[in-house]
Symmetry: none
Subunit: 402 residues, 2 copies
Amino acid sequence: MENSGRVVERVAGTTGGKMVLLVADGLGGLPHPETGLTEAETARTPNLDALASAGVSGLHVPVARGITPGSGPAHMALFGYDPVRYEIGRGVLEALGIDFDLRDGDVAVRMNFATIDAEGKITDRRAGRIPTEKCVELSERLNTIRLPGVELFVKPVKEHRAVLVVRGPGLVGGLNDTDPQATGVPPNGLRAEDKAQEHTVEVLNAFLGAAFELLKSEPRANALTMRGIASLDKPPSFQKRFKVRAAAIAGYPMYRGVAGLVGMEVLPQAGDNDELVRLLRESYDDFDFFFVHYKKTDSTGEDGDFDAKVAATEAFDELAGRVDEVGPDVLLVTGDHSTPSMLASHSWHPVPVLLRAESARVDGVTSFGESSMLAGGLGMIRATDILPIMLAHAGRLAKFGA
Amino acid sequence: MENSGRVVERVAGTTGGKMVLLVADGLGGLPHPETGLTEAETARTPNLDALASAGVSGLHVPVARGITPGSGPAHMALFGYDPVRYEIGRGVLEALGIDFDLRDGDVAVRMNFATIDAEGKITDRRAGRIPTEKCVELSERLNTIRLPGVELFVKPVKEHRAVLVVRGPGLVGGLNDTDPQATGVPPNGLRAEDKAQEHTVEVLNAFLGAAFELLKSEPRANALTMRGIASLDKPPSFQKRFKVRAAAIAGYPMYRGVAGLVGMEVLPQAGDNDELVRLLRESYDDFDFFFVHYKKTDSTGEDGDFDAKVAATEAFDELAGRVDEVGPDVLLVTGDHSTPSMLASHSWHPVPVLLRAESARVDGVTSFGESSMLAGGLGMIRATDILPIMLAHAGRLAKFGA
C-alpha cells in the first residue's frame, strides 16, 4: 500500500480535470430481514441509478477486512492515506471535533469530569452526566490554570466531556489513560514509559494537581480523568502529495477537522443539501478537488432506524444529482464505512463506490446498491485506491516507468 | 506482495509441466461509444473464446489501482517481480531497447543531442531532430572518448536520441537530469547529492567536457543533455527464484531486454506469428517456461485506431490458437497493461487474463473480453499473482507448511 502510495506521489501532475468525492457517511447497510434489501436498495435513487448506469461500480474495504473504522481512519483512507500509518489519536479527533485549531506538536487529551469519594476512589465516571452548561463553567475555570513553558487550553465538549490541549516544546502523546474504566478505584497515575514521555507526564500531573484543587468543592464534578492522550503528527499535505488544490465542504466539525488536518481548504460550515451545493458552485473555479460530506446516512444508521436511513439515502440521491449537474470531470460517490441500521453502529462491511468519468470502463451495473455493485467493473478495492483512481480518470497521473 | 513472493521461492520445485505466458501488449481497452464494446469484445476471437470456455478467467491490475505502467514495470510484474521494488531506470530501459548487453553495475544514460547558442543556452532541445544517420555519425564520434578507470559506450537510438553506458567500479545511478526541459537556459549541472555519487558525477562531467569539444563545430547538434541516469541493479534471477528454464520469444528489443534482465534465455528476434510459433516449437523441449510477446495490440492502441486494434486482436487470436496447439500444460493469456484506442495511450484499467490448465476451476465465462471476464473465477488479481498461479497449475509448487 505504501509502495503504491509513493508511486502516486511520483507520477501526480498539476494539471487535469476537476474531481468531486461525494461521501455519504455510513452509507453501507445490511438487508432488512423482511425484504432482503438494504437501506440503499430500498431507497428510491433515480440519480444514483443513472450514475451507476453511466459509470463503473464496485465496493471498497475501508481499512481491512473485518475492521470497523472510526470516522478518522475511514476518512484518512478515502483521502488516500494509509489509515494505520497515519492514525489520528483520540484526543486529537476530539479536539478536531470541536473545531479547535490544532498545531503540529500539540498534545490533545479527552477528559471526563468524574466524582470521587473522600478516599479518592471514583464513584461516578461521568459526574452524573452534568449538564453541558456546567461543563462550560468548569472548563472555563480550568482554563485559568497556568504552567511554565506551555500553553493550556481547556474546552467543553458536551455533558461531562471536555478537551485539554497542551502546546509547547518536547511534548509527546501515547501516554496511558488515567480513566480506570471502573468505579471503586482511584484514577490511574500517569506513567512515563521512556525518557521522552517524562516532560509530558510532569506537565499533565501539574495540570491535574491544579485542576483537582479548583474542582474539590464541586458536589459532583470534583475530579477528572484523562483518555486518548495524543500528539498531533501532521500527515504530509494532500496538496503536496497529489498536486491538487482541494476543498472540503461539510457540516460537521470532525470531518472538517480531518480534511483540514491533511491540508484541504475547509470551506464554511454547510447545514443542508442547498448549502453544500451552493458552496460547491461558488468555489468551483478555485479548486481541482472537492470533498463533499453528507452526514445523515450515518446518524440514522446509528439510531438503528431503517426507514430513516432509507429516507436519508433518498435525500443523498437528490444531492448526488445536483452535484453531478455541476459537471465535474470525475464524480466518485461512496461512503466512508457502513453503518447498518440492523447493527445501529459502524461496521466492517464493504461500501458501495461508483465512478462517473469519460474514461470509465462502463460496466453492466444499472442500480445503486450493495448487491448490484458486487458485479461492477471496479471490483472490490481498498479505500486507499479511490484517490489514485480518481486522479487517473482526471488525467492527472503520468506513466510510471518507461 | 513480497511476502507471497518469498513463499513462492521457498516452495518452487524443479519438476512439473510446461508453461506458456502469452502476452498481447496493451491488450485491455475501453468501449467504443457507439457500440459499448471494447476492442477485444468487438474482435472475432474464436480461439480465445474457446480457451475462456475451457479455462478460468479474470482481470489483473498491473502495478496498482490508477497507476498507468510503462512497459518495463508492466513486464516485471508479469514476471512475478514487484515492479516498484525492482524499478528499471529510464537509461537502463533505453539501453535494453537497443539490445545493448548491459552488465550488473553499468550506468546507462539517455542522451539528447541539442543546440546551444554562443552563451551556452539551449535553443533547441532536439537539435532540430537531426536524421538518424547523423545521430549514428555523432555517436561514433563520441564513442572514441576515453576516460581513465571506466569503459564508455555511446550508441545511437533514433533522430536526436542516443544512449551512453559507463562501465567500471563505484558507479551509481539516480543523478539529476542535465536536460532542463526548457529552452533559453543552459543545461543543468550534475550535482552529487551524497558522497557515493561524487565519482559518477566526475566521470560524467569529464565525458560531457570531451563530448562538447567534439560537437562544438556542429551546426545543430553542438551540445547534448542527459536524462534518466540509472544503474543496472540486476533483479534476482527468474530461474533461481522459480526453478524453471525460461525462454523469451519477442520481436521488440525492449521486451527482449527486460526478459534478459531477469535471466531468461532470449531467443532470436521473431517478426510475425509464424516466427513466434516456429521458435516456440523448435525450442519447446529445451525450456519449461516460455514468455511469448505480441506487440500490435499496443501499437494500434497507441495510434488511437480502434479498428486496427480490433484487427490486431483477431491476429492475436490466431496466434493464441496456434500456441495452444503446441500443447503446453499451462497456457496463460493476458496483456501487460491496457492501451485503449479511445485514449491512444497506455492506461491504468485492469487487463483480461485467462488460464487454460487441467487443474483450472473452470468458470462460466465463454467469451474473451473485459466485461465477461469480470465474472471469472480468478477475480481481480495483481499482475504479480500470475506467475505463482501458473507455477501452481504446472504442479511446480510444493505445500507451504506441514
